[in-house]
Symmetry: C2
Subunit: 225 residues, 2 copies
DNA sequence: CCAATTCAAACAAACGTTTGACTGAATCCC
DNA sequence: GGGATTCAGTCAAACGTTTGTTTGAATTGG
């Protein structure tokens, strides 16, 4: 059942959510048992049914919780961008885009939810459930739309422009892949973790890539009108 | 003598592997039940223990099977590249790199194992098990090393060059992200599947990106010697 | 005292695995 | 050459464990 969230939250409910975020971040829905969660959260087995109506309810609440937490970390920048978009200054759009991408990979590679969020997001992308709608509405769509608007503004296109969407996706993806493919890349490099210098270098790359892509023609032609 | 009324089924072991590839490709280890597999494969429940020693054994065999199948589809091109690398012609390296990336996204977006392979690979990258070693040795390492060699050759660097590895990763990743983030991108575009024109456009983008990246300085400086 | 919350215990269902009987074809030995 | 034996493979049935969920009593706090 629905519970109002902003007045003082029951302690147990919050503990369950925090534990569930890391659990579902590492393993998938079937790989996480309810008993494992309540033990880690020092709660009783029936607390899940009581607070969330069941395991599925806990999972959905967890995804929503994560999406909000993650979005909150980007909210100031997204708002700043929305206001700047009014001015419609192409050069400023490019700058904001680079800056946002830098902050984004920072979250992915060194942020608080960098270990749990990718697991859930990429699993729901691969095999969408009810939870994907939450993820899309609260996190993916706002982010994707904002970046698309920046690209479109720079290029003097509509926010519905497919080429702007493709470029926004390509840019986001270029950052994301260093989180997803982390295991293999680190193994190739002979490292066990990214250093600050690595992240800095990646940011420089993203910045350079961004400025090149915005003027590149390859993704610019919408093949289907 | 008795004539078979049905077309001859593959041996039980093979049938189990084929079913397991698609099953483990869609859901994760705990999300797939042994009974579900044997039913789809028209085999008996104890066939898994008999042929693979258990569910875990089936999973490992499935990953190996998939890695080999997928690698086989790229083998001719990889071999062609290895031979061309002897010549050490920079321009030829760039061409081969673009060509390989094009074939790679073709496999990911429209290939036979494009639906199952990514699920397994990205899951094992996120949370490596014994199966990741198989995947790395039989698929990821050969591919990554070959691309790194091409980059290194073009740039006149060593095959151990970190900057070459980073560039190879960035290039592969730029293709991969259009498979991983497919759900969200298609939703933004208002489509339900990529068209041939989309794939063609993506290939053009990858080609352009590749030629820009090879001469770009941002990933070129190895921060740590 | 009452409503909200927690608790130990039990529930049926699904899980991976094991068992022992059974098959058909190849191999053996007299 | 033919009955006995072996062996890989299949099958239905049952195993014990873990799963998510439910129950009803106990506890807590306003």
């Amino acid at each position: 059942m629905s519970v109002s969230n902003h007045p003082p939250l029951p302690e147990t409910r919050e503990r369950l959510l925090q534990v569930a975020v890391t659990a579902f971040g590492q393993r998938d829905y079937d790989g996480v048992s309810t008993r494992e969660i309540v033990e880690a959260a020092e709660a009783n087995i029936s607390a899940i049914s009581y607070h969330f109506g069941g395991k599925r309810g806990l999972y959905l609440a967890t995804v929503e919780y994560l999406a909000e937490q993650f979005h909150k970390q980007m909210a100031p920048r997204l708002e700043e961008i929305r206001q700047a978009l009014e001015a419609s200054d192409a050069q400023a759009c490019a700058d904001l885009l680079c800056e946002f991408l830098g902050g984004f990979v920072e979250l992915l590679l060194a942020g608080e939810h960098g270990e749990s969020a990718p697991g859930i997001i990429f699993r729901e992308q691969h095999r969408p459930t009810d939870a994907y709608d939450i993820l899309y509405r609260k996190l993916l769509q706002p982010m994707h739309e904002t970046l698309t608007a920046l690209v479109a503004c720079y290029r003097g296109e509509s926010r519905e422009s497919h080429s702007a969407m493709l470029m926004a996706h390509a840019l986001l993806g270029q950052g994301v892949i260093f989180r997803i493919g982390r295991t293999t890349l680190l193994k190739r490099l002979g490292k066990t973790a990214y250093t600050r210098a690595d992240i800095k270098q990646l940011k420089r790359h993203l910045s350079g890539y961004c400025r090149w892509l915005l003027d590149a023609p390859h993704l610019a032609e919408d093949v289907i009108p």
